[in-house]
Structures are given as structure tokens and as C-alpha cells.
Symmetry: C2
Subunit: 239 residues, 2 copies
């Protein structure tokens, strides 16, 4: 892992940019004790510099966690595949025309998840070697990636999933294999995330401890108190 | 209000039994400062001495709230009406026979709610005159009573509702008129509370701030951390 830059933010958090081969990432830490780690990812591969992701990451860092994110293939500044660009164009056209979008989402999001998981695991290998990170490891964010990662990697000890965006069929099937405690956060009127599909997914999760939090409003309307609830969820399972 | 007995519990909480005319009640307080009040009620009129209700009440009292409950008409030691006794017998018979129970619940729970609301308001009048209670007032528990009470009485500032038991049709309609912040706690596999009906009720609540918390398991399986989440909900709205 190469640290390419670092700066101290005004709330005292240390923000470091790193690369791992082709993978660019960011690590936020506070305090001097080795800390549990939270991996923060964004629905459908939005860039890791997206302000809402950064705000969530800094919130968790201010609660004493080491927090890391990467731009997986096709995310942020990384080159997008021709197939993904085509799928995005198809998606815009279909949405404008009011046509069904499930198959297009499948062709866009399925490969994004497939390609992201090995790189997140590579990042996790490297992060857990840092002296400032003690584990255990939590996951926060993009539901589809979180399911695949928690099922594939036994180092993930708790998952906070945000029910935004499309979950590919294969990943929905894997939800039954999840065993880690999870907090599933749903916006009741999320325009991009049909409510019944999210409730069915919550029902399918195999985890014995799973909690659904739902609030009214659209995709961007999550109330601020849910950040605090999220911190307490991680505190229960990562401390 | 006549205080009929009092005792200091081992966690320092003062538990006082009172009567208000025919209405028996219990008040739990801790500390010496005037405190906000939480009214705690039980689904379908179970007795106020029921251990789970007492545990919830003491939990809130230990967080600095004054907590009160009453036995409304037909609850606890108070005489049951012949109609309610008949409805309970009909209910047992119908459940055993696997017959529909909606109409029987309607005839049992409808009058229980109708009769309870004026007595809870009488109790609220008296409780708010005590120097140890400053308001504002929260409500916790029985969903059907909580809806009716929050819609009828502007002194209720926040409602934590447990989706257990049958909500009469008239009360379900009133849910749209609710405006106070609410936390709606659902057991995902509650044998006595059809999930879809609870989700429809959550959807119907008129309150701008409404949060659903759902956890797997039956009616009695609510995880302990939900008590803490409940306290933080009240802290946001009653402090």
C-alpha cells in the first residue's frame, strides 16, 4: 500500500489517500490506538469522493473507527468498460421512455459487483496489516456489494446496508447465506428502490440478528439520527 | 390523586401506587428534578403489573423519565364487562377452530380502546399537576391506544408504538391524523400481528417523522437494544 497524500481535517481526523496497484483508496483515522475498521462503499459504484460517502466515513472515524473506501473497477476516476457505458446509455433511454429497466440494471450492476469484490478483499488484506487497524471489520453502504462481501469473506463481522439501488438476482440469492448481524436501512419512498423488493430482501437475509430501519422520504432523505443508530450498531458488534 | 403505597426499588427508583377515583395506577420516578413523563400502556389491556411492562417502565425511569401507567376499564383487577368476557370466549373458540377472528377482535378491542382513552387523559391531567413531572409527555406501548390518544390529546409529543395486537378499523383510520414523531416497533414474525397489516399501518401514519424498526422473531422476541433505541427516540423529542 502506497500512501500518496495525507491531510489533517479540522475535526482532527487524518485522511490519507492510498494506492494498491491500480486500486485508489482513502483511509480516515482518528486517535492513536489501533481501531476496528469499517469499509464504506457506495451504491452502484459512485466515486469514493462523493460528499455523502465522505460525510459517513468521517462520522464513523470521529467515533473512533478506522474507515476505508476504494474506487473499484468502473468507479470514480477508473476507466469504465464499454459494456457499462452502453448499459448506462440504455438505462437513460429506457427510463426516459418509461420502459422496464430490470434487465439493464442486471447487465450494469452484476459486473460492477463481480469486479468489485476481489478488489475490496485485496484492500482488506492490506488494511489489516496496518498497525493502526486492529479489526474486527464492519461494512457500510452499497447493499449488493455488502451481501457478496459478507458471504465471501469471514472477516466481515457486521454489515450496515443501505437499500438503495438495484441488487442483482445472483446476489439476492446469496442474501440467504448471510450470517453476520446486519442493519438494513430503507427509505420508504425511495424512487430507485422498490419498497416491496427491499422488504423481500430483508425477509430473505439469513442472519439471525437483522434489523430493518425505515423512514419516509426519497433516496437522499435519510434522517441524521440514523448515523447515530448506525454507530451504535457497529459499537455492539465491533468493540 | 391518592398515593396508596410507595417503595424504593433496589435501583433507586421510587415506585408509587395511586388511585384516581376508580382508576388504579403506578408511577415510577428517579432523581429529584422535575422530569418529562412517559405513559406506558400494554397491548389490549393487559394488567399494569405485567412484568414486561414494569421492566420497560423501570428502564425509562432509570433514564430520568417519570413513567406512569394505569389499569383502564376491563384491565388488570378491574371488572371485565360481560361483552368482553363473551368476546374472549368467542376468540378462544374461533382460534381453536381456525376460524376468522377479525370481527371478534373488533368487538373486543374497539370498546377497550374507547373506554381507555378518557381515563388515560384523566390520569394525564392529574400526573401533570405533580411537582416531580415537568412534561413534555411521551407515550409507549399499545398501538391502538397510542394512536387514539396522540390524535385526541395535543399534550402527547412523541409516541413509541409496539405493533402487537389488533388495531380496530376506526383507529386505523385515525392513524392518518397523527402528527407527532413516532417510532413503530415491529416483530417481523409476530404470530398475533400480521406483518402486512403492520406495514400498511406504518405507511398510513400521517406523522412527518416516523421510523419503523423491525426485528425477526415472535411477539415476545424484541431484542434488548430496542429499549436503548427507544430511550434515544424519547430523548430527541422530550428533552
Amino acid at each position: 500500500m502506497d500512501i500518496t497524500s495525507e491531510r489533517r481535517l479540522d475535526d482532527g481526523i487524518l485522511e490519507r489517500e492510498f494506492t494498491l496497484g491500480e486500486i485508489p483508496g482513502t483511509l480516515w483515522t482518528s486517535g492513536s490506538e489501533p481501531a476496528p475498521l469499517i469499509l464504506v462503499a457506495h451504491n452502484n459504484g459512485l466515486p469514493r469522493r462523493e460528499p455523502r460517502l465522505v460525510a459517513r466515513a468521517r462520522h464513523s472515524a470521529s467515533h473512533g473507527y478506522a474507515v476505508a473506501t476504494i474506487d473499484a473497477p468502473g468507479c470514480g476516476d477508473r476507466p469504465r468498460s464499454a459494456a457499462a457505458e452502453q448499459a448506462r446509455a440504455d438505462l437513460r433511454r429506457a427510463m426516459k421512455a418509461g420502459e422496464p429497466v430490470d434487465e439493464i440494471f442486471e447487465s450494469l450492476v452484476g459486473p460492477l459487483v463481480d469486479d468489485a469484490v476481489p478488489e475490496w478483499r485485496t484492500a482488506l488484506d492490506a488494511l489489516l496489516e496496518l498497525p493502526e487497524i486492529s479489526g474486527p471489520v464492519g461494512y457500510s453502504g452499497w447493499t449488493a456489494l455488502g451481501i457478496r462481501l459478507a458471504v465471501a469473506d469471514p472477516r466481515i463481522a457486521a454489515a450496515g446496508l443501505f437499500a438503495g439501488g438495484y441488487v442483482p438476482r445472483a446476489v439476492r440469492e446469496e442474501a440467504r447465506q448471510m450470517t453476520v448481524p446486519l442493519l438494513f436501512l430503507l427509505q420508504w419512498d425511495d424512487e430507485g428502490n422498490p419498497r416491496q423488493r427491499a422488504l423481500d430482501l430483508f425477509d430473505a437475509f439469513g442472519s439471525k440478528e437483522k434489523t430493518l430501519h425505515a423512514n419516509p422520504g426519497g433516496h437522499l432523505g435519510t434522517p441524521a439520527f440514523e448515523s447515530e443508530d448506525g454507530s451504535r450498531f457497529y459499537d455492539r458488534h465491533l468493540r
